[in-house]
Symmetry: C2
Subunit: 234 residues, 2 copies
DNA sequence: CGACGTATAATTGTATACAATTTGATGCTC
DNA sequence: GAGCATCAAATTGTATACAATTATACGTCG
């Protein structure tokens, strides 16, 4: 449970950052969760100096929202932000997948196939956390193949923000829907078919965005919408 | 004379960050310049806590390189990094300029024209720092018009890194060469000509990349000299 | 004179102390 | 009991103290 008790050495800033980032990717940390510095200090057994560095990095990644004098919370992207995230991903991954289709080696394809098959297994088993993480891994792996570091870094942030968007705008009951987009992508990329790779990616991202209920904010997200009727009837 | 003693209020972290970032954009801070924490503390009159936050943000922007236990220096991008920067910019700005051409209002065009004309004036006057900053402003303004915040943020970083690349790989004597790329871009965007806008942007970035060559970067002045003006003016 | 090793200074990394601010509770007034 | 002011506790923001590491100066030895 508490990892550092098993370890003799203190966890480093980078390791703690990875743990929190992964928890966000796997939706074990959900939007609006408060991240109290003291609590994180206790959990990881380090001083606030380290925790504050981690929180600063996460807030620059836009996965944590920093409210002056009021602490940090897991980001809860608004509908218009989510649309920008997907618009950015469409542009980025259009270029990435095109380059990947040009550069992909058989070994690269094998890695992609492995990720996709494990992803299918987790979806089948209803293990949503792992499935979402692997889906992100798949997209990042494409960026690795394309080989552009600035683009990969932005995509890494956008993938995490996408995870938060899904947590917020997909009904919690509905698991990830199974589809063969990734498999078809692997096929097109392996053949070096740039045009088809781009087409599949574009449709894939758009389909993913459509599954989000961006127009119907649930819960306490948008109080104006929640109370629109009663206020209007008044 | 100690300039910061005249100031009534302490500079904030964000303001100091902007000052350093601007100094990089304007090439008053050149690649490989050592950023000693104590010196920056003295210059801005704050504690190391603040300076270290600033340096962390700058290093995540990839304009400062952080070497464990050995301090921070202004980044000096290697040739392969520079190629990735321009490749990323071509992809990003292709999408940005296309969207800008669709959305650009007459007021937007006026702002762009104003930036471009001031840019010409500075190039004519041989004021390279200001010309480079305005060139960056022009590209970022296009991103504002396109209206995608994640893309704008990455472009902001890439523009600064481009400034470092120019500082390193363009002979310091040769001023910015005058051309009408920005003017032609404004014309195409104003007419909503997406195809031509993209074409001009692509050629513009490629031409800019071609002007870079291997060269020995000159050393920069000490930090007090670099920030003398802004500190005194505050 | 140069190479090497040691001592010393300078710099960075981390933890902690203290100040400022916010949050929550208590009690007062009406 | 609702509304409001005030106080106490908790939390965050900043500065500083101390530890760890690196850079520099110096003296010795070859």
């Amino acid at each position: 449970m508490v990892a550092q008790l098993k370890r003799s050495k203190k966890p480093s800033e980078g390791w703690i950052y990875d743990q929190v980032f992964d928890a966000i990717l796997e939706q074990r940390l959900l939007p609006d969760t408060k991240l109290t510095e003291k609590d994180l200090c206790d959990v990881f057994g380090v001083s606030r100096t380290i925790i504050r560095k981690v929180l600063l990095r996460l807030s620059l990644d836009k996965v944590v929202k920093h409210r002056p004098n009021r602490g940090a919370v897991i980001a809860a992207p608004e509908p218009d932000e989510v649309r920008e995230i997907f618009e950015a991903r469409r542009l980025l991954e259009d270029g990435i997948v095109a380059e990947a289709a040009r550069k992909c080696t058989p070994e690269d394809a094998d890695v992609l196939t492995d990720i996709a098959s494990r992803e299918h297994a987790f979806i089948h088993a209803g293990e949503n956390s792992d499935a979402i993480r692997l889906s992100g891994d798949f997209h990042l792996r494409l960026a690795d193949i394309a080989g552009n570091r600035p683009l990969r870094e932005l995509l890494r942030q956008l993938v995490a923000q996408t995870s938060l968007a899904i947590a917020r705008y997909v009904p919690s009951g509905s698991g990830m829907c199974e589809n063969d987009d990734h498999d078809r992508l692997i096929a097109a990329i392996s053949e070096g078919d740039v045009r088809q790779s781009r087409d599949i990616m574009k449709r894939h991202l758009t389909a993913c965005e459509r599954r989000l209920m961006l127009d119907t904010p649930e819960g306490s997200k948008n109080l104006h919408a929640v109370f629109a009727d009663v206020v209007a009837a008044q």
